[in-house]
């Protein structure tokens, strides 16, 4: 029978890099991201007795997300606005050539993701960098899977639009 600490390591702590990654995408700089990730991991440690699930990463990232938004709100002195959409939108208006898209510079693509509003950025990060399913993302952001679906679709449309100028 593993100790509490070993369980925490296995279920939660081993996702510390992912915690940092999500915090970094949301708060925008290295120093704050490390502070936020550390606070989140501490909170996770304190609350670990309440963890009953099998997905420690999703559980930890939910805490990281909340901690990140709290940090952003403190910095901006106003709430980060949630967005509600119910629509699936097509990703592209016209069809750019796949080859042109693949040739895009990674830094330029990173910048495009960073420029997305948080509500769209976070679903892209959880989907494309953390490989989470819609159900898992829904759990982390606290919205229904349908919202995840339409928000991702719109996030990709926004990325496509912003990168289309560069690709041309």
């Amino acid at each position: 029978m593993r100790s509490e600490r070993e369980q925490f390591e296995w279920h939660v702590l081993r996702h510390a890099d992912a915690a940092y990654g999500l915090a970094r995408w949301l708060v925008g700089n290295d120093g704050d991201a490390e502070d936020v990730a550390q606070e989140a991991i501490m909170k996770a440690y304190q609350a670990f007795s309440k963890f009953r699930g099998t997905d420690g990463k999703a559980w930890l990232l939910t805490i990281v997300r909340n901690q990140s938004f709290r940090h952003l709100e403190r910095r901006r002195a106003r709430a980060v606005e949630p967005l509600e959409e119910d629509l699936l939108v097509p990703i592209f208006e016209e069809t750019p050539e796949a080859a042109l898209i693949r040739a895009l510079d990674a830094e330029r693509v990173r910048k495009a993701v960073e420029e997305l509003p948080e509500a769209y950025r976070e679903v892209i990060v959880l989907r494309e960098f953390e490989d989470m399913s819609y159900a898992e993302i829904a759990g982390v952001i606290g919205s229904p899977p349908g919202t995840v679906m339409s928000r991702l679709s719109r996030a990709r449309a926004m990325l496509a639009k912003s990168l289309a100028e560069v690709a041309r």
């Binding site: 100790s3 600490r5 070993e6 925490f8 390591e9 296995w10 702590l13 081993r14 510390a16 890099d17 940092y20 990654g21 970094r24 995408w25 290295d30 991201a33 490390e34 990730a37 550390q38 991991i41 440690y45 699936l88 939108v89 097509p90 990703i91 592209f92 069809t95 750019p96 050539e97 796949a98 080859a99 898209i101 693949r102 895009l104 990674a106 693509v109 990173r110 993701v113 892209i124 989907r127 494309e128 960098f129 490989d131 399913s133 819609y134 679906m149 991702l152 679709s153 990709r156 990325l159 496509a160 990168l163």
Partner: protein, 242 residues
């Protein structure tokens, strides 16, 4: 399904998140409509470009801090390098996988698909995934000649499934060629088996095995990526032409 409808479903289709019926309708339409297929490929390329952005890594100080505060090892001297961090996780992961492997495969007679999953897990554990690390099929393919009876082509399916290299493995007592692909943080092992091999699609404890027949050979893709991704992988591999 009309073109505008298909284009609105492209995003969840890309993620393998549609219900079977809608997924089927989109897939059928894409087979018959060159314009929508082009949109799909552009969407795939966009996703690939996003995924290709290197991830943010925390500092060594951050990792040390996390290890020291929470590790069961925290009585020891503070870690000096990042390597200790990844070794710890490797060990923790390794212990769990070993236990799993023992439980799964020592209780019953090993099946062929069980062998493939065990091979995949062993390779991950021992960090010995590759005998020939190369993303160039002109390097990987000839390496196998003389070592195996089959002669498949290790197509590079970047950006979604980049070729990492190949390795020789033993399955059912025979040497087989394995092409190793990456997908985000996961790997996919593609085993090439002679046509006499018998197995089907299945899952064992989170590892999926997806098989198909192509040009008289049986291909078996083993990975912990989710099922829809393995379907995409199969589609992309089959679409390759010399």
């Amino acid at each position: 399904m009309t073109c505008p409808e298909v284009r609105r479903w492209l995003s969840p289709y890309l993620d393998g998140e549609l219900d079977l019926a809608t997924d089927d309708q989109v897939r059928t339409h894409l087979r018959e409509c060159a314009d929508c297929q082009a949109q799909y490929e552009s969407a795939l390329a966009l996703r690939g470009s996003v995924r290709a952005v290197p991830s943010f890594e925390p500092s060594a100080e951050f990792r040390d801090k996390m290890l020291n505060r929470f590790s069961t090892d925290s009585q020891a001297a503070p870690a000096k390098s990042v390597n200790r961090f990844s070794t710890l996780w490797g060990f923790v992961a390794g212990v769990a996988v070993c236990t799993l492997a023992f439980v799964l495969f020592f209780g019953a007679r090993p099946s062929l698909r069980g062998e493939l999953v065990a091979s995949h897990m062993r390779a991950q554990l021992a960090n010995h995934m590759l005998d020939v690390p190369s993303s160039d099929r002109h390097t990987v393919k000839p390496w196998f000649s003389g070592r195996v009876q089959t002669a498949a082509t290790p197509w590079d399916l970047k950006p979604d499934f980049p070729l990492l290299g190949g390795r020789l493995d033993l399955v059912d007592g025979q040497p087989v060629e394995v092409f190793v692909y990456g997908h985000g943080a996961h790997t996919i092992d593609l085993f090439v088996l002679p046509s006499s091999a018998k197995l089907g699609d299945s899952s064992i404890r989170g590892f999926h095995v997806r098989t198909w027949v192509q040009d008289g050979l049986i291909y078996a893709a083993v990975s912990d990526v989710d099922e829809p991704q393995l379907v995409r992988f199969e589609e992309l591999y089959q679409a390759q032409k010399p």
